[in-house]
């Protein structure tokens, strides 16, 4: 691994990595059961420099911003390298958003360059708000030969034979603008510096090292903080291999473990649960005698790994289970959302370590991670090296808001000093999550103090971002909330969004209104949908500028009704 303390920027570290590990396999790109290509670090560099030169010829320079909207593929990382090589700022956008959601973020980020896949670009150009964005250079991948590109250039043509200049950056310079929300409301663009990323990388690789030969399976979107770190920066500075799978189909994900002898993989709770279900089904289908033997082996493994994991022993005891994961798996990382302890325990008893942690975009990638000494399924682990974590105003049970201070905490929210000063107070990041430390120093999470939900797919959903989907609803006024924000629950599972309906005088909820709610709900992606409604008979409290006072409204509802009485399922 490179000694990252020596490097002032991601660009400098990555540049050296491509030279140092030139002959190692850097990327493998697969689509279903087909392998598209594999690149060494040398070949990666040879592909990246012509596009870097092209961008620089188009005026892309130190501090310029470039957005990427792409599924997981080698061109994502090549583009990101070109941006860092040129001293630019990367804006990794979530490809799962719609064009209508991409446009405000492209506009807000002031990106001069966009690298995207053809189908995303087509959707953007067909959007009524297309005229709102002014992007100097758009590079489109995967475009059919006959496609009309609306001013964009094909990836294959975006290259130059000249030698690009490497632009040095300082640790405190901006590396990325990552949007944690704001697709329909106030954009929250987390500005992360080179120092943030390099520090985070040192901390994570101290617990989970990479080296040449290690293979990381990338299925989380690379714009996601976890995949960006453990599926790009981490493996690259260690000469490891990243395997991109261009589909999320469970059957191909399972196949990829064995086909590519995967060492690490990051996933969201939903995918881990899917793997658990698959294993449990296979176990249940075993003949009774074999099942008996398996249960005994699991019992033995559990007994021998009570204090700490023993991967070699587990691989021997539960050979077939580990072979189903390719035989070389060292750990799975789960993040992006809260994971149920039962699932974590299930995998641990099979000898498969699941690095369960807690993090948020505003703090880089991860704040805490389970160190397995001993394994504790009911916690999100201990603070990573360099992280200070404290509990603010703890109640009688020791539960309070989690605050974080470290070199990985973002510099600011882009162009929003007010929100920045509310979020970073005296150097401490206010996470809005509720937790406490146990006697061993493991962090346990109990819910949120903020108005948002996180789905099992790891999606953060802010009510303000989806309210516009209900514009024109035939009621006096309405407001969307996280149910737990109105009625706090000490759980981070099964979080739901609800709509509060202020009806007109004499109005009642009827079939027509329900049909309208359902119809509007369908316009939202499934993870953004509301699951119920609350009828409220008073005008909403508002500020002088007519914004809804959400906290006050939630308080009024809470004081008037309990959840069971007020909340009606849709």
């Amino acid at each position: 691994m490179l000694d990252l303390n020596r490097y002032p920027s991601l660009g400098a570290a990555l540049k050296d990595a491509l030279d140092r590990f030139a002959g190692e396999i850097c990327l493998i790109e697969a689509d279903r059961d087909r392998e598209n290509h594999r690149l060494t670090y040398r070949e990666f560099r040879d592909r990246a420099l012509p596009i870097t030169a092209y961008l620089q010829e188009r005026g892309f320079d130190s501090g310029s911003r470039a957005a990427i909207i792409m599924t997981n593929q080698s061109k994502w990382l090549i583009s990101a390298y070109a941006v860092f090589y040129s001293g630019g700022v990367l804006v990794p956008l979530d490809y799962k958003l719609s064009a209508l959601e991409h446009i405000p973020l492209l506009k807000h980020s002031k990106a001069e360059v966009l690298v995207t896949e053809y189908h995303f670009w087509r959707a953007i150009t067909q959007s009524p708000d297309f005229g709102d964005i002014k992007i100097k250079t758009v590079i489109v991948t995967d475009a059919p030969a006959s496609a009309e590109l609306e001013g964009a250039i094909r990836w294959e043509e975006a290259n130059s034979e000249s030698t690009p200049n490497f632009i040095e950056r300082e640790r405190s310079d901006w590396a990325c603008i990552v949007y944690s929300s704001g697709t329909g409301g106030r954009p929250k663009g987390c500005v992360l510096t080179h120092d943030n990323y390099l520090e985070q990388c040192v901390a994570l690789t101290s617990l989970y090292p990479f080296w040449p030969g290690v293979r990381y399976l990338s299925i989380l979107p690379t714009n996601h903080a976890i995949d960006f770190m453990v599926g790009f920066i981490g493996p690259f500075v260690c000469g490891a291999t990243v395997v991109h799978l261009r589909t999320l189909r469970p059957e191909f994900v399972r196949e990829a473990f064995t086909r590519y002898q995967i060492t690490y993989m990051a996933l969201v709770p939903m995918v881990l649960k899917n793997l658990e279900t698959g294993l449990r089904t296979r176990f249940a289908e075993l003949p009774p005698a074999k099942r008996f033997v398996l249960n005994r082996l699991i019992w033995l493994n559990k007994k021998f790994t009570q204090k700490e994991p023993n991967l070699e022993l587990s691989r021997k005891l539960l050979k077939q289970v580990h072979e189903a994961f390719g035989g070389g798996l060292r750990a799975l990382f789960v993040g992006g959302a809260f994971m149920s302890p039962e699932t974590l325990q299930f995998f641990y008893e099979l000898g498969i370590q699941v690095g369960n942690g807690y993090g948020l975009t505003e703090a880089g990638t991860a704040v805490t991670l389970n160190d397995f000494k001993p394994f504790r399924a009911d916690t999100v682990g201990k603070p990573l090296p360099g992280m200070e974590v404290k509990i603010l105003n703890p109640d009688a049970e020791g539960i309070g808001q989690v605050a974080v201070r470290s070199r990985t905490v973002m510099a600011q929210y882009l162009d929003d000093p007010e929100l920045t000063s509310e979020t970073i107070v005296d150097g401490w990041l206010m996470t809005g999550d509720l937790g406490r430390f146990d006697s061993m120093g493991h962090l346990q999470l109990f819910g949120r103090a903020k108005n948002m939900i996180v789905t099992e797919e790891g999606k953060n959903v802010y009510p303000e971002d989806i309210e516009s989907a209900f514009d024109g609803l035939p009621v006096k006024e309405y407001c969307v909330f996280a149910a737990n924000y109105i009625w706090p629950e000490r759980s981070m599972l099964g979080e739901k969004l609800v709509i509060v309906l202020r009806l007109d005088e004499g109005q009642e909820v009827d079939d027509a209104l329900i049909a309208k709610l359902l119809e509007r709900n369908r316009r939202l992606l499934n993870f953004k949908r509301i699951s119920g409604y609350v009828v409220w008979r008073q005008d909403f409290p508002r500020t002088a500028s007519m914004k809804i006072k959400r906290y006050q409204l939630a308080e009024q509802i809470r004081e008037s009704f309990d959840r069971q009485t007020a909340l009606k399922e849709l």
């Binding site: 896949e117 189908h119 995918v271 099992e456 369908r522 499934n526």
Partner: protein, 80 residues
Amino acid sequence: MQSLEQTVDEILNLASSHFKVSRSELSPTDDFFKTLKIDSLQALELLTRLENHFRIELPDYEVQGVSDFQTLGERIQARL
């Protein structure tokens, strides 16, 4: 080539047998996440079944944001 109506009908039949939901409970405009009580990964599993049935290949992005049988049928029909 078969009609869109036939395609949607075959999708409903397949969804009904795969997820063990009565065919009579399914209609083209249904939100399949809700009616079948499935998550997005299970929806991708259904997609693989449909690909095998119709002998086509649908990239994941083609069905991103699709949640009703009718639209799913249209995406499949376009590739038949």
